[in-house]
Amino acid sequence: MLRYSAMRLLLFIPIIICVTFIIFALMDLAPGTIVDTMITEEMTEEDIEFLRSKYDLDKPMIVRYGKYLGNLLRGDLGSSQITGLTVWSQFSERWPNTMWLSLFSLMFGVALAIPAGILAAKYAGTIWDNITTAIAMLGLSMPNFWLGLMLLTVFSLKLKIFPAAYDGTWRSFVLPVVANGFAMIASITRQTRSSILDVSRQDYLRTARAKGVPERQVTTRHKLGNAWIPIITQIGMMLGVTLGGSAVIETVYSWPGVGYLMVEAISRRDTTMACGCVILTATAYSLVLLLVDLVYAAIDPRIRSAYARGKKRRVKA
């Protein structure tokens, strides 16, 4: 188990190197450089040349990348080319905002979606199931930034119940969490419904009922116990998606998070900042996926025993 986690983490190093190279190369190919955003009317040719050499822009991309990678391997993500603040300080300052937003959205989503999914599966084929499915479908189709703006219009501008932007209190979390969580509700509900329906056809449920297990316990223990795994995958994926795609909802609510930081960095051609944010976000994303894998093992004895027996027996994912 420990060995498996260690392997997964080691495998992550080549991925990070490739990802940084891709982002670096792409940012280099983009028309315009960081210097172009600083040039003013009164600058002379020499000033511009000085700036170019300051950012190593007179050297080929591969040299800059080598330098960056060297620093990265020593754990130095560099500093923003615009503000001069270190990437780490900027990121770690904003990360909690993004993380709490994502976690709260997920909690909100899961709290509503799992009961809804269970009910939809229980009443499969009836009007309740159809209504739940239709709402879930609508939720999946609704652009989250639009929902965010709608909530903003109603609850913040008209009714003035919640603030329109981040102010550090719990009240400012409400609207973004709802806007972010709505799409999650939709997809987790659908996943819950379909995996419970899958499990319901299994024979061990009949066995459980035959030996007199009360229906409530059949649902919570036997059905849910086995339907968990695909649901957890879906939840893990949703967490990854919100962590990585937080830019949109953060823009709507002027949320001081990582997504907003990345949008700024990319549009201002701040390669170091953009790269750093990508690395850190991708790391967080992969850690979440690893965590999901470990949770599987914790809840599914079959998987746990496959790990315990060592590498040879491990089923390829």
């Binding site: 982002i23 709608m150 823009t251």
Partner: protein, 297 residues
């Protein structure tokens, strides 16, 4: 002689395929969700055709300062925007972008994904490993971010937005195509194609891919919904089709400054994005049931 046999088998396989399509269509028709999705999608396509024929770009960009922020009325069903332009016409005009993104980006992702995914699944070994690790890397970069970077490099226009959204879907299609090729490739007809001397590449693209297509079609249709949403999101962030072009996401972005006194500028474009994604999602669900009757009990 051999050519005659070939022609015959081609005719019969074509006949079978038509028969299959008809059966799928019959099943699809009985699914109310799929029918609703299809109707919405057709309506949106009709709106696009109407806008291409009757709404000129000048008409939707010309400034009419007398009519600013008119609320929805009989004359302007969706109201007018901050420059007095008819919002309904702008939204209708914008339908072309969303439809193009829905079909175009998924097409890009599907073609590239099927190509590499089927090669990976069919050959296995180091080819498989290489392609799948690349897919892993691609999927460890968040899609929104990759899209922003690609649009920044290539420039903000429709084609580049298509590419940006399409690239983000490639990894998914590679995995999907690989998985379905793996299940198909051990069938007897692949063996017999090899026996009559078909080249490996030809086997992949004439025997294996067509037979593993149905899960891919389902994914593609469902993916269209996601693509519409992420393209709108990118445009909303300013990395996509930008004002004055009336892309729906860009329209919502433009409405942010006037939410207080002209919320209708935000309502309508969002409703249309939602309709479009909803139609694709419904159709995807319906197709899944229609293509795989085993799933339905």
């Amino acid at each position: 002689m051999s050519s005659k046999v070939k022609t015959q088998s081609m005719i019969s396989s074509q006949y079978q395929r038509e028969n299959q399509l008809l059966a799928v269509w019959k099943r699809l028709r009985t699914n109310p969700g799929a029918v609703v999705g299809l109707i919405i999608l057709c309506a949106l396509i009709l709106i696009m055709v109407y806008s291409v024929l009757f709404i000129s770009y000048e008409e939707i960009t010309v400034i009419n300062s007398k009519n600013r922020f008119a609320p929805p009325s009989a004359e302007y069903p969706f109201g007018t925007d901050e420059m007095g332009r008819d919002l309904m016409k702008r939204i209708f005009y914008g339908s072309r972008y969303s439809l193009a993104v829905a079909f175009g980006s998924v097409f890009i992702g599907m073609v590239v994904g099927i190509f590499f995914g089927s090669i990976a699944g069919f050959f296995g070994g180091w080819v498989d490993n290489l392609i799948m690790r690349i897919a892993d890397i691609m999927s460890s970069i968040p899609g929104t971010l990759l899209g922003m970077v690609i649009v920044t490099i290539l420039g903000a226009n429709l084609i580049n937005l298509l590419i940006a959204v399409g690239v983000a879907s490639i990894a998914g299609f590679i995995r999907m195509a690989r998985a379905s090729v793996l299940t198909v490739k051990s069938n007897e007809y692949v063996e017999s194609a090899r026996a009559i001397g078909m080249s490996e590449l030809r086997i992949i693209f004439t025997q294996v891919v067509p037979n593993s297509l149905s899960p891919l079609i389902v994914t593609a249709t469902a993916r269209m919904a996601t693509s519409v949403l992420s393209a709108a999101g990118l445009s909303f962030l300013g990395f996509g089709i930008t004002a004055p072009k009336p892309e729906w996401g860009a329209l919502i972005s433009g409405s942010r400054a006037f939410l207080n006194y002209a919320p209708h500028l935000c309502y309508f474009p969002g409703l249309f994005i939602m309709l479009m994604a909803f139609a694709c999602a419904l159709l995807g669900d319906g197709l899944r049931d229609a293509l795989d009757p085993k799933l339905k009990k």
